[in-house]
């Protein structure tokens, strides 16, 4: 319970339109400003690479290549959708945590556990019919993610270990677990480097073009389901109440421990599903480490979407497009693909700074963070959650 958490004000109808307008205007302004700041980095890279020859139009060249590689044409769009699918699921995993007042930085580890679960079951069932192998492999990945997410919830609920530190530690532990399995029981015998067999029939079916797998559809359905859970079910009401005001939730007879564990398990399941989708839909096998930036991307997506499950879809599409076009940008303009990470950080920075100035200009002052974020910062000593 922070001293700053307040009950949301009840707003008349006209304010609702204003609220929707802010929800759209703020992210758009953040993206535009980040693109401008990114130009500085593009100039810097160009100056260093070409020993001081200044190319004024360089950012335009780079951004044009970024758009070309992500949106212009059928294949680039499918690539964008494929990149966006895990970001939708990861973004949901962070967003549902925010709704409950939990900061899930563990999507990386949940994703990796999803990869492990789906590859283990997928390889075992690779000769079975698709309709048996595929759903079971997806389920295994989801459950592995849910298990590691639920563990965070249990630790938080019963010992008060702060989820920010435990999720990050579990990210490293999950990476080691995957490496141990891939170089141990799942390893293809006599392969030069540790790698697993292909998941064969457990692969996700393709429905769009040559590579568009149904993980894209699963992600969209998941966003709708999470929205439905949050706003149309008792559990969702409890999650939102516990996030907005834990004291009130307890007085109302809700059990905070149960809510924390369930929320983290659902979040972990979403992260695991993202990993399963990538493994079964894109790579079909894995080495000892699974390269992904989904952990931090997911936080960016959730913050940009202001934790709204449906808004997660366009936010993930934006970051998916940037990831998809980054390669083209590096080839055509020579701008390193890490520019996407810089852009992402700048978007977040503007997102948290801008509302403060907007309020100062309109003379309203007061608490500045998005309402979901208000309850995140709590002490991380061992304070167990009562009830």
């Amino acid at each position: 319970m922070t001293s700053t958490s307040k009950m949301p004000r009840i707003r008349p109808g006209s304010d609702r339109i204003a609220a929707i307008r802010t929800a759209i205007v703020l992210p758009v302004v953040a993206v535009i400003l980040a693109i401008l700041i990114g130009s500085i980095f593009i100039y810097a890279a160009d100056l260093i690479a070409h020993k001081g020859a200044f190319d004024f139009g360089k950012p335009l060249t780079a951004y044009a290549a970024l758009v070309k590689g992500s949106l212009l044409g059928f294949d680039p769009i499918i690539d964008t959708l494929k990149q966006a699918a895990p970001l939708v699921l990861g973004g949901l995993a962070v967003a549902i945590g925010f709704k409950a007042g939990l900061f899930n930085i563990g999507v990386q580890g949940q994703f990796v556990m999803g990869v492990l679960g789906s590859v283990a079951v997928g390889v075992a069932l690779s000769k079975e019919p698709v309709w048996i192998a595929m759903p079971l492999a997806v389920l295994a990945g989801t459950l592995c993610g849910a298990a590691i997410g639920g563990l965070v919830g249990v630790l938080k609920a019963f010992s008060g270990a702060h989820e920010v530190v435990t999720t990050i530690m579990l990210n490293y532990i999950a990476g080691n677990i995957l490496a141990a399995f891939v170089s141990g029981p799942l390893r293809v015998p006599r392969a030069p480097a540790p790698i697993t067999y292909s998941v064969g029939n457990a692969s996700l079916p393709i429905f769009l073009g040559k590579t568009g797998h149904i993980g894209i559809l699963i992600a969209v359905v998941a966003a709708v389901v999470i929205w439905w859970i949050l706003y149309r079910t008792t559990l969702g009401f409890e999650i939102r109440t516990a996030g907005a005001n834990p004291e009130a939730a307890r007085y109302a007879g809700m059990r905070p421990r149960r809510i924390i564990i369930l929320t983290m398990a659902i979040a972990g399941g979403l992260g695991g599903l993202a990993g399963a989708g990538e493994l079964l839909g894109v790579t079909h096998s894995t080495q000892t480490s699974f390269a992904t930036s989904v952990g931090f991307d997911a936080i960016a997506v959730a913050l940009l979407a202001r934790s709204n499950p449906l808004a997660v879809i366009p936010a993930a599409f934006l970051f998916g497009a940037m990831r998809a076009g980054a390669g083209q940008m590096q080839i055509e303009a020579g701008t390193p693909r890490e520019l996407v990470d810089v852009l992402q950080a700048m978007i977040l920075l503007v997102l948290v700074i801008l509302p403060v100035f907007a309020r100062r200009l309109s003379g309203r002052g007061g608490q500045v963070v998005p309402d979901e974020a208000q309850t995140i910062t709590k002490s991380y000593g061992s304070e167990s959650v009562p009830g």
């Binding site: 900061f103 270990a161 990050i168 532990i173 141990a180 931090f296 936080i299 950080a345 963070v369 995140i376």
Partner: protein
């Protein structure tokens, strides 16, 4: 009855682990202290920030920024002023310039965190996370840009070489070697820990810091400028994080890896919690974590014998790389006693309207 019987081999293994530790500790101690350096500095950064009520989970990103800046500025300095002749401890002018740059960059990052979390009152954990993401993005981007010129290194700080007459002393020789046979940054950590412990509990600044961290309103009523003190503490924390980062790219190694910090900033936070927000306690916890960090290597070059050796051989190597992270979680769950954070930790302070 059965459980008692099962207990005998377990006890035997525990004895073997104890014996193994006693056998290898003198040899491994310098490595353990060196590996504890970034953790210790990170934890000191956490202590000064959080004692004044500012949560800083951006230590990881701050150290990464410092590691990168120190490394690249030292290389640039070599290009400008030449490599120079290494003095004692491997000190060259270029390395000193790099070290200063590393500290300045970390203070700059801390200033951003202070501005976001103290002035703008953004949620402090969100602010720290943004710093971590930005640090990974910007250092990764610049590292990629620079890698085209394939820079190598400006060298690194090295250890004092003690005369063998000292290190061969019976019983205490290894202790001297552990503490003194280290690079300058590690030795400065030992000094910083003691000085900070004394200042925090014996000086006016320390009393004020603790007052602001526990009850900022009360502190303000007796005339302490809460905002200014928090700013100052976060910036001092930046100096420590900067030294920790510089250690990674200028003393432990002579190069920068984009994943080089590898969660040490977060383990440092855990060390701070286990050390109950005191410098000496945090340093002790850092040593404990670093024991786990180095255990994997130690087991490789000094494999234990007997049943313990058989067990260790049978385990996948990843078990040992995961050990520090597992230990962090176990410790956080409060198995080693509870630790209570400063009461106002993480809460933005809003000055009441005067007039």
């Amino acid at each position: 009855m059965d459980s008692v019987l099962y207990g005998i081999p377990v006890l035997g293994i525990l004895f073997q682990i104890g014996g193994y530790l006693v056998a290898v500790l003198p040899t491994a101690a310098p490595t353990i202290l060196a590996a504890a350096t970034p953790l210790g500095f990170g934890a000191l950064c956490g202590v000064v920030c959080e004692r004044s009520g500012v949560v800083n989970i951006g230590i990881e990103g701050t150290m990464l920024t410092a590691a990168f800046t120190g490394w690249i500025v030292a290389i640039a300095a070599v290009a400008v002023i030449g490599p120079g002749e290494p003095g004692p401890l491997g000190v060259t002018p270029a390395l000193i310039i790099g070290l200063v740059a590393a500290i300045l960059s970390a203070v700059g990052v801390s200033l951003l965190h202070a501005w976001l979390s103290i002035s703008l009152r953004v949620d402090q954990i969100i602010s720290g996370t943004i710093i971590n993401i930005a640090a990974i993005g910007i250092t990764g981007y610049l590292n990629n840009v620079i890698s085209a010129a394939s820079p190598t290194s400006a060298g690194q700080f090295s250890a004092i070489q003690l005369p063998t007459a000292v290190t061969d002393l019976p019983l205490v020789g290894w202790l001297f070697e552990t503490i003194l046979n280290q690079g300058p940054i590690t030795i400065s950590l030992l000094v910083c820990v003691v000085v900070l412990q004394v200042l925090l509990f014996r000086s006016r600044w320390g009393l004020r810091t603790r007052a602001v961290g526990e009850h900022p309103k009360a502190a303000e009523t007796v005339g302490i400028d809460v905002i200014r003190l928090r700013y100052r503490n976060v910036l001092i924390g930046g100096v420590f994080a900067g030294l920790g980062g510089a250690f990674l790219s200028m003393e432990l190694s002579n190069s920068f890896q984009s994943d080089g910090v590898a969660g040490r900033g977060f383990i440092a936070l855990a060390a701070m919690i286990v050390g109950r927000w005191t410098p000496v306690g945090a340093f002790g916890a850092a040593l404990f974590f670093s024991l786990f960090l180095t255990l994997g290597q130690t087991i490789n070059f000094l494999p234990p014998g007997g049943d313990l050796g058989v067990i260790v051989q049978a385990l996948p190597a990843q078990v040992f790389s995961a050990l520090p992270y597992i230990a962090t979680i176990v410790v956080l769950t409060g198995l080693i006693g509870r630790s209570i954070p400063p009461a106002a930790d993480g809460r933005p302070y809003e000055r009441e309207a005067t007039s």
